[in-house]
Every structure is written in C-alpha cells, then in structure tokens.
C-alpha cells in the first residue's frame, strides 16, 4: 500500500470526532438514564413485593430454581470451592459466590469434576436453512442464574464459534416496557437476573457437512442436532454479574456434549415421531467450570 495514501488517511481519521450536536445528544441520553434510574429505584421495590402472576411454565421453573438454591449451596461449594474463577471482590461471606448457572447447580457431579446437566438442557432444537444452504441451528439451553438478585449480567462467549440468542418471555414484560431480545451476538447484558426468557446457543453448519453425515437431512433431524452439538463442544461462556452489595464477580463454564449424543438425539426424535408420551431421557451435555 502507498505509504503516502495510508498516512493521509490516518491523519484525516484522527481529526474526526463527534459533532457538538452529537455530544449534546450523548449528555441528554445520559441524563435520561439517570432520571429513569431514579424512577425505577422506587418502582422496583413494589414490583418485587407484588410481582406479576406468572404462567404455569414460569412457576415451574421458579420452583426448580428455589429447590436448586438449597442444593446449590452444597453442590457449588463442593465443586468450585478453592477453584473459583471469578474476579470478585467479596463484600460478604455469601454461600453461593457469584453468578452460578441454575442448570449447573441442578446437575450431577461426575468423577472427572464435570457436571452432568439436566436432561432438558439442549433438548429443544430448531434450525433453518439460509440462502447459501447452510443450516443455522439453535440449541435451547437454560442459562438463567440460580440467584435472582444479580444485575448487569453479561454473558460472553470467550471460546468457540457459537453465538447467543435470547428472547425475553412476553409475560415478564411490564406495561410499556421494552422486550429484550438478542440474536447472533457473542455477548449480551441483561439488567437484572429476574428477566425471564429463552436462551439458545446458535451455530452454523455448512450444507456439505450435513450431506456428508446423512443422505436425507430432512428426515434425519437428529444428525443435524448432533452436528450442532459437536460444534458447540468446547464452547466457553463467561458470566459476569453484580450482586446486591455492588460486588462484581464472574464464572466461566465450558460445555461438552456427552459421548453418544447422536444416539440420544435419535431416541428423542423417534419418541417425537411416535405416539409415545414425550420423556426427556438421558442428559445430553456436561459442563465444567474452567479457569
């Protein structure tokens, strides 16, 4: 490249900055945020006491989380004590340190230190095929936290090619509130952990990889699910959050599919195609906390 041309580009770029109108808009935006924070601080206490009548599905999940909270004290303390990854500055001796995933807390510890996640984790899969014929696969995975008292929860994929999708449950949106949704992102932040929704890890599978694995991808859906699970293997998710005392800490988890995940998905597909009552079956994924 011509050194002269690049040098002049650098000089011009360094002279660029936001206009005075842009700076004013920034200050106005910050003032709006401060005003909104002052209003919501008084509203939040009321919402927390009375709440909103949840759907049956939400009640079930909260019951699971409440039960898991007790188990989590024993499980998490046993699994992660002394190996806590988080960069927390502890303000107190909390039994559960930092943003712990509910699925991790509900899992079963294995001999190798990993946790076998609940059977529902990664069971629901949907996908679509793009114009380039590649498959965009979305594996629904519950990434909610055990504790509902965290705010500024940032999820980041720090290893792997997967992306996040989060769709807030419409029933959890207050009147005039804004629905929170993220798609195809490597990181996203929820303002507090009471926000309920559907999480998924998304991967893209080229058409030729699916063709190599099966003759009829429209019928052998479990093959696509298994390929997606293999692409998610080794994905590391960092979760950073701030507790009620203002302390920020984090955990990083690595996800791995079980060894015979293709067979497990095939069983689920056979079940779905038959008249049998749907049962979750065996777990599909393991998780470990990593440094």
């Amino acid at each position: 490249m011509k050194q002269q041309g690049f040098a002049s580009y650098i000089t011009q770029m360094k002279q660029v900055g936001p206009t005075s109108m842009g700076q004013e808009r920034l200050q106005e935006a910050l003032q709006r945020e401060r005003s909104a924070a002052r209003v919501s601080a008084s509203e939040h206490v009321v919402m927390h006491r009375h709440g909103v009548l949840p759907s049956a599905g939400v009640v079930a999940r909260r019951a699971v989380l409440a039960a898991a909270a007790v188990a989590a004290v024993v499980l998490v303390a046993g699994v992660v004590s002394g190996n806590m990854v988080g960069s927390g500055r502890t303000g107190g001796a909390a039994a559960i340190d930092g943003p712990v995933l509910a699925a991790y807390a509900q899992g079963v510890e294995q001999a190798d230190g990993s946790v076998l996640l609940p059977a529902s984790f990664g069971t629901s899969v949907d996908w679509d095929q793009g114009d380039d014929r590649s498959y965009s696969v979305h594996l629904n995975m519950d990434l909610s936290l055990v504790d509902a008292e965290f705010r500024d929860i940032t999820y980041s994929i720090v290893e792997g090619d997967a992306t996040f999708r989060f769709l807030q449950s419409r029933g959890s949106v207050s009147t005039n509130g804004e629905l929170t949704e993220f798609q195809d992102v490597k990181t996203f932040t929820l303002s507090d952990s009471s926000i309920e929704g559907t999480y998924s890890l998304d991967v893209v599978i080229p058409e030729d990889e699916v063709d190599a694995a099966t003759d009829d991808p429209l019928r052998d859906l479990y093959v696509i699910n298994a390929l997606a699970a293999q692409k998610i293997a080794g994905t590391r998710i960092e979760i950073e959050a701030t507790d009620a005392e203002g302390n920020t800490s984090s955990h990083t988890y690595e996800i791995q599919p079980v060894e015979n995940i293709a067979e497990r998905y095939q069983e689920l597909q056979a079940q779905a195609e038959s008249d049998e009552e749907q049962q979750l079956g065996e777990p599909l994924f393991t998780m470990r906390e990593v440094a």
Partner: protein
C-alpha cells in the same frame, strides 16, 4: 430494562471519561459501522453502559481498553440486529435534527483507504484502526480485543496484507475504467 437501584457513576466521573475517550470511541465506532449515525448510537450505548457499570478501573488505560472492547461488541451487535433497530427507530422520540456529517468525515469517506477498508472484515478493520489511528501497543490491543498478543500480531499481518490487496485492486479498477489511448482513437465500424 431498568436498573434495580440508582447506583450509577457520578457525573464527574462520566464527564472526565467522556472528555478523555469519546473521540476514540466515536472513531472506532465509525470505522466499524461505516456510518456517522450508527457511530453516534454506539457511542451513546457505550457511555450508558459505562455509567451503569460497576467495574473498578485500575487507571485510564484500563478504562480505555474497556471502552474500546465494549465499542467493538456494540458495533458487532448493531450489525446483527438490524431488524431490532428498525423497531427502535420507529419508537424513538423525536430528538430534532439528526447528527450531520461534518466536512472531516465527508473527506474521510472519499479517501481511497476508507473505501478499501469497506471490503475488509470488521476484525481486520478493528486491529488496523487501533494500531495506526489510536496508536495502541500490541499488549493494549490484546487487552481491548480480549485476545492474546500473538493473535493480535497475526491479525495485524493479515489485515495489512488484505488492505494492500484491496488498494491494488482499487488502483487496477480505476485504470481499467479509463479507456486507453488506442481505444479512444480507434475507429468503430
């Protein structure tokens, strides 16, 4: 969504941070989004995140690295959420006249290097921008991009090569567009 409490960063802190870093944030956002309007939106989002964040910054360099990393993530999210932004645009209150491109930006967007960088991946543009415009060191770029120093060196080398290729292709295209003397004087039957 709204904060659960009002513990936001002080106005004094925000004023200092904006004075020190808004230029870098805006330039990086402009380099990534290729749009002054989007760069303005990203800059707003970044400083709102800063105001709401509780990260204890060691020093100004740490703050700058955090801001640049958040800026890159915001740009990436913006590009992948075009449908979401269309909904937000409809719902936004009228803020009067929009940000207009000033002459400096207009000149910049006519520069051949700017046009060549249009064809680069966002990851290539970001390392080139941080290295040559913001003059960050390799370790500083690694911190801003949350990657290893080795990865930064590899990406810089690749980005420079690709930009060079784009510039050459641009020059060749410009030459091809101008008819040669023989073509101009040829007789068409």
């Amino acid at each position: 969504m709204r904060e659960s409490n009002n513990e936001l960063r002080s106005e004094e802190f925000m004023d200092e941070a904006i004075a020190a870093h808004q230029g870098a944030v805006y330039r990086l956002a402009l380099s990534q989004t290729r749009s002054t309007a989007d760069a303005q939106d990203v800059m707003q989002d970044v400083f709102i995140k800063l105001m709401r964040s509780q990260v204890p910054f060691r020093d100004s360099d740490h703050l700058r690295a955090w801001l640049l990393r958040v800026t890159i993530n915001q740009c990436r999210d913006l590009a992948r959420q075009a449908w979401h932004r269309r909904v937000e645009v409809v719902d936004e209150p009228d803020m009067g006249s929009t940000v207009t491109q000033d002459e400096a930006v207009e000149l910049l967007m006519e520069h051949p290097v700017w046009r060549a960088m249009d064809a680069l991946k966002e990851s290539d543009r970001s390392v080139l921008h941080l290295r040559y415009v913001e003059e960050l060191s390799i370790p500083e770029i690694a911190e801003a991009l949350s990657c290893t120093q080795v990865a930064v060196r590899v990406r810089l080398r690749r980005a420079r090569t690709r930009l060079r290729q784009m510039m050459v292709a641009q020059c060749e295209q410009q030459s091809a567009d101008v008819p040669s003397f023989s073509q101009q004087t040829g007789v068409i039957r």
